[in-house]
């Protein structure tokens, strides 16, 4: 690290503060608005802190909407997407790393290429395919969509991880009496765990935040996920801003908790690969 002068530090701090405010202020505003009674939300001039903090917005959210159902649907769909993606991506990335076969590099490159399509470009054909299979308006369709969209980057990321694990370790396990499968289970996966967790989290976030697929593929209210459910709150004749802010707050809380817990894995995952023997 180079030594910085006091002035440089000041500018650095200022820049960080500006960026932080830019990113965090809307969140703060959302959180505080969620705790304001409806009358306070529209006062002029606006006030940052609620004068009479209340949980009535949250109460209304639970009482008048299907928030709990949406939440449950989001958890189910996102978790299933993570599991399915990892079940496919871990062996897939392992195969793309360790087996020599014709066209391996081309397959790896093409996989990443598919990631460059915006979801909106394939949503209509995807919907038609799902309808043909009778899967439109099911959670299975959503899980498949999220899996299809996460797989390219999941494969790519895990492949980098597997590549960083010395092949000697697997060979050592095999000469130690392990089959290839057991060598993968006992040696490769434990060492790739930071990468697997990071990949899982990115998949979870993609699924958790998705609006487009859920909007198009799901029509029944009791199957909707949070982003769609919350967006529908805007369609009411009177828009209840307090309730919308409360739902926003409740949506990000689990994400924040998960993130703060697995941050260290993410850093390891995005950083070195973390597998020095």
């Amino acid at each position: 690290m180079t030594r910085r002068s006091g002035l440089q530090l000041l500018f650095l701090g200022l820049a960080v503060a500006v960026l932080l405010a830019f990113a965090a202020f809307p969140l703060l505003w959302m959180g505080l608005t969620a705790l304001k009674p409806s009358t306070e939300i529209f006062t002029w001039p606006p006030r940052l802190l609620p004068e009479a903090p209340t949980l009535s917005n949250i109460e209304r959210l639970f009482a008048q909407t299907h928030f709990v159902t949406y939440f449950k649907n989001s958890v189910i769909v996102s978790s299933a997407a993570v599991i399915l993606t990892l079940l496919l991506a871990v062996p897939g990335a392992y195969g793309l790393t360790r087996y020599r076969f014709f066209g391996r590099e081309m397959i790896a490159a093409t996989v990443l290429f598919t990631y460059m399509f915006a979801p909106i470009m394939i949503i209509i054909p995807f919907y038609i395919v799902m309808r043909t299979f009778g899967l439109a308006n099911t959670h299975i369709a959503l899980v498949l969509a999220y899996c299809a969209f996460s797989l390219p980057f999941a494969l790519w990321m895990l492949r980098t991880f597997f590549q960083s694990i010395p092949i000697d370790l697997e060979e050592a396990a095999m000469t130690d009496g392990a089959s290839r499968f057991r060598a993968v289970i006992h040696v490769v996966i434990p060492m790739a765990l930071p990468g697997i967790i990071a990949t899982g989290i990115l998949t979870f976030i993609l699924a958790w935040n998705d609006y487009i697929f859920a909007r198009i593929l799901i029509s029944s209210d009791n199957l909707k996920t949070l982003p769609v459910g919350i967006a529908d709150l805007y369609n009411a004749s009177v828009i209840d801003w307090g309730m919308i802010m409360a739902s926003g707050l409740l949506v990000i809380i689990p994400v924040v908790i998960v993130f703060s817990y697995v941050q260290k894995f993410l850093v390891a995952g995005w950083g070195s690969g973390g597998v020095k023997g």
Binding site: P166, E171, A172, D176, P190
Partner: protein, 379 residues
């Protein structure tokens, strides 16, 4: 323990053949060292024995049973890797117990076997550490311990000492030899270091370009190398090869090395060397046999007068470098003689220590009746 046999073993990568149908017999309990320059195929051969590389052709037999189609796990081998390949997420104890875990050995038995191996290698107090907390030498010991615990039919070592410093390497060499003397398990050991090969092996297998050049015990390879390659590879410093012309006159055969240097060939080799009369040959003399030492004056020693270029004192002896025809050669002198660069000296070599090499075939020409040490040619 097992006898290992390689029969016409072959490896191709695509169209490129890297191991050309080699044959090799390793007796039960023998310490065999595969040695050669990098790219000679020694590691590929070892990996085929381990099952990590598939043989393109031929057969690998353990005690007469073909194993070349078996998975590594079913071959009953243990391998020590150059990189040690310790599992970073496991403690030393778990590393050593891994093979037992794969076998489903009971935990009390696991503990006992790990304990025995740890004691043998003096790593008992390291058992709870992770590999990253160990020094290079300690990792090496753990890697060996992991192999020992398995009690395999054959131990395979892939350049296990090449990541250690010189002092540690010498120490580990002795330990590997001691372990072998104690367990008497068949060992196949790969190295590019001919000193390791000489000191450890019961049997040295010199490989070059995917072929086996020669198989033999260390002293046989040293005394009766079959080819220029083996002669140059075994021994340190390297053997000198003087380009020469073999001349015949009424007094016998002479090698003319140029610059007025003539070496008389011993009478008893006349029959073997006679076909080369009038032809270009190479004369090989090891530095340790080419001496600046007046005591060698009699007994039919050959002599050459040269000018010393560089002197490297080693303590008891000095390495003397001299130049003939633009090429540097090495001889050994007595430090007490205090040679200086530029000195004109007479080097002597006993007639028995001179080799004649056919430069076309690269073979060393050995007199047929000179069978003081038996030689085994590679098939």
């Amino acid at each position: 323990m097992a006898e290992v046999k390689l029969v016409a073993l072959e490896k191709k990568f695509g169209d490129v053949s890297v191991i050309h149908r080699i044959n090799l017999d390793i007796a039960d309990g023998e310490f065999a060292v595969l040695v050669g320059p990098s790219g000679c195929g020694k590691t590929t051969t070892l990996r085929m024995v381990a099952g990590l590389e598939e043989a393109t052709g031929g057969s690998i037999l353990f005690d007469g049973k073909a194993v070349e189609r078996l998975e590594p796990k079913d071959r009953d081998i243990a391998m020590v890797f150059q990189s040690y390949a310790l599992y970073p997420h496991m403690s030393v104890r778990d590393n050593m117990a891994f093979s037992l875990r794969m076998k489903g050995v009971s935990s009390s038995e696991k503990k006992r076997l790990v304990g025995i191996a740890a004691e043998m290698l003096d790593i008992t107090d390291l058992l709870d550490r992770k590999p990253r907390q160990l020094s290079g030498g300690q990792r090496q010991r753990v890697a060996m311990g992991r192999a020992l615990v398995r009690e395999p039919k054959v131990f395979l070592f892939d350049e296990p000492l090449s990541n250690l410093d010189a002092a540690l390497r010498a120490q580990m060499r002795i330990e590997i030899k001691r372990i072998h003397q104690r367990l008497r398990t068949t060992i196949i050991y790969v190295t590019h270091d001919q000193v390791e090969a000489m000191t450890l092996a019961d049997k040295i297998v010199v490989m070059n370009g995917g072929h086996i050049e020669q198989v033999g015990d260390p002293l046989t390879l040293y005394r009766r190398p079959v080819s220029r390659f083996v002669a140059g590879f075994i021994g340190s410093p390297k053997m000198n090869f003087f380009p020469a012309r073999l001349l015949a006159d009424e007094s016998g055969l002479h090698a003319d090395l140029g610059e007025g240097i003539q070496i008389e060939m011993p009478q008893e080799r006349d029959a073997a060397y006679r076909p080369y009369a009038g032809r270009s040959v190479e004369i090989g003399i090891r530095p340790e046999h080419l001496l600046d030492d007046a005591r060698l004056i009699d007994s039919g020693a050959v002599a050459m007068d040269v000018t010393i270029d560089v002197v490297e004192p080693l303590g008891s002896t000095s390495l003397l470098t001299f130049v003939l025809g633009g090429t540097s050669y090495t001889a050994i002198g007595d430090v007490a003689l205090m040679r200086r660069p530029g000195a004109r000296v007479r080097l002597r070599a006993a007639a028995k220590d001179i080799y004649l090499i056919d430069p076309e075939s690269g073979r060393v020409v050995h007199p047929a009746d000179d069978a003081s040490t038996p030689v085994r040619l590679a098939v």
